[in-house]
Amino acid sequence: MQHEMTGAEMVIQALVDQGVEHLFGYPGGAVLPIYDELFKQEKLRHILVRHEQGAVHAAEGYARSSGKVGAVLVTSGPGATNAVTGLTDALMDSIPIVVLTGQVPTHLIGNDAFQECDTVGITRPCTKHNYLVKNVNDLSRVIHEAFYVAANGRPGPVVVDIPKDIQFAKGTYVGPRNIQHKTYRPRLKGDIEKIKQAIELMRHAKRPLFYTGGGVINSGNEASVLLRELVKLTGFPITSTLMGLGAYAAHDPQWIGMLGMHGTYEANLSMHGCDLMICIGARFDDRITGKLDAFSPGSKKIHVDIDPSSINKNVKVDVPIIGDCAHVLEDMIRIWRSISAQPDKKALSQWWKQIDQWRARKSLAYKNSDKIIKPQYAIQRLYELTKDKDTYITTEVGQHQMWAAQFYQFQEPRRWMTSGGLGTMGYGLPAAVGVQMAHPNSLVIDIAGEASVLMTMQEMSTAAQYELPIKIFIINNQYMGMVRQWQELLHGGRYSHSYTEALPDFVKLAEAYHAVGIRCSKPADLDGAIEEMIKVKKPVLFDCVVDPNENCFPMIPSGRPHNEMILGDAGVDPESAITEEGKVMV
């Protein structure tokens, strides 16, 4: 597998050898030799985006929905700096992508050359690892290493910065099989003694709870299968973070909804009241824990994570297990079975009785209207009309994102692509482009807000060029809804700059992008309009005009503990839903 070629040829060869089929990119001076090689070949499909941020989000959507590593090619200087938001997003959400950036020739580095920037310096804190290649004979090894580092351990983004003279230079290509990283060998198997300890705690728990996250999804579909098996074996309730939705089927009775700031009443009170928390592939983020010193005060905590730095970062745990979710879950099931373990059934049925009372509160309830579309209703209808199809959902960031998480029921992993850690407005549209590329025959919907989607609207042009029938379902309330909600609750209703005046006409905008525009503002017309959207085999901008004043509940406000939620006023009165015993507990 060793032969002479130019650096630019090596880039193409290395990507092909890594199994890359789609490359999201934007050309520029410092990557022209690579674009020239792209022109001469047919193995690799290049997707021309309209902004480098869009390329990275598209690669993220591609990676999350397919389980493969996403690949991006951008030029030096502004090409690299435009990619930074996407890189940070991928780092926060542990998404495996490799971003190749062009760089000015090595002899010009440091001279403030045209379109020069210190790419490795700028991207060092927002990548898992990065490289500047100064010798063409290192290039193929570095690219293979980049794919290894991106995909193994806790996944993340890796940047390879390639100066233009290296792209022209000739050197020896090395295939991926000869590559092994010197030091980076993440641990996959968990410590068996610790897993046994965890099983002991699980056998004797009175009020246990699974709390799972994006790690289960990153671990592969096998992890979701194993998680479902373990949850069924034990009979414990399960909740998940925003990132982990779909790892466990939402229609299952043991599923108690998402937890956290906008999680369900039952999920958050279960977190607060449990005596054993089994955290798998989640990281005790501040949106989950709320007030740290009042977080789940009476529980022992088991934490399974592949990244040792996630352990004891925010919350001290009793049984840390460092390893890959699928490997650890497999061992847990094996040990549970081998000792014919049984949960404490009496205590568990009491616990379920308690949870069912919390559930009866119906914390997601809202007051529907037949005059104006409620955003929750819009997402419920979208779910009902798409649930039997092969559907992938992406979102932007804000109220619509939380409503999507609450009301769209995910049954399978890798169907839900959202910007969790960084909260990047403008993520959903380009991510949908990436998802549709990976799944050309599936229904891909971006549940969007009208403010977010304008941040990366230019990618509609990409969707049009490649005839990607993505559906942009805009929950249009004319406000930056989540900002408005915070201003209403915390800043005396002073809506400082959260209202968007002079919004574009989304129907006309769609037409300008060679797409289809649909507007709907009456609840009675909604189903028909959604069906029309699904039928169209072109990109669609769906302008769903909703109640501008709706707030997203439940909500744990600002640094409060889980048992101090604000609930909407449409649910069942908590006084009648909670027993005396329950009151003592919460």
Partner: protein
């Protein structure tokens, strides 16, 4: 239980982030870090400290094994036990980091620092400076009729003390290497 939506008169003191952690005891630690000697590795380590708000009290770095391209970084830092654990885990997460050892944990580490101290003075001050240097086993490595440069090695506290004593005698400037440390006994890192 159920909280009513906050009234508009309530001060907007709350942020959406959890409150700062309660104050815990701060410990001083010396960490030894074995890394690949590749471009940018020091920037990665330092960037981690500044980016995550950890302290660096002193830092020394040099290549230690040329054939294997290995460098050894010694960092003196401080933090609560939870922060120290985070620092170690975060360092180990960096791709070019081989090992991180907390030398203070076993309390068996040897710590040394080298200082160059310039003193300027006449008459009695000059004699006194020489006498104290002798007591501290500092060597004179440069001398003029007006000044001395002393070379001194030892624990950081010893150097601190020497510098304090030199101040009234005409201290001009000090250059220190920072702590360099190694564990006692036959075992390597």
């Amino acid at each position: 239980m159920r909280v009513k939506p906050m009234s508009k008169s309530e001060p907007a003191s709350a942020t959406h982030y959890p409150a700062a952690k309660s104050v815990e005891r701060v410990e001083h630690r010396t960490l030894s870090i074995l890394v690949d000697n590749e471009p940018g590795v020091l920037a990665r380590v330092i960037g981690l400290f500044s980016g995550r708000g950890y302290n660096i009290d002193s830092l020394t770095v040099s290549e230690t094994e040329h054939e294997k391209h290995l460098s050894r970084i010694t960092i003196a830092t401080q933090g609560t036990p939870m922060v120290i654990e985070q620092i170690k885990n975060q360092l180990e997460r960096l791709v070019p980091v081989h090992r991180v050892v907390d030398l203070t944990a076993g309390q068996t580490a040897i710590e040394r620092e080298l200082a160059l101290v310039k003193v300027r003075g006449k008459d009695n001050n000059r004699v006194e400076a020489l006498r104290l240097a002798d007591a501290f086993r500092a060597r004179v490595i440069d001398a003029t009729t007006l000044s001395f440069v002393f070379e001194l090695t030892g624990k950081p506290e010893k150097i601190d003390q020497f510098v304090v004593l030199m101040q009234p005698l005409g201290l001009v400037e000090v250059s220190r290497t920072g702590v360099c440390a190694i564990a006692r006994g036959p075992e390597g890192m």
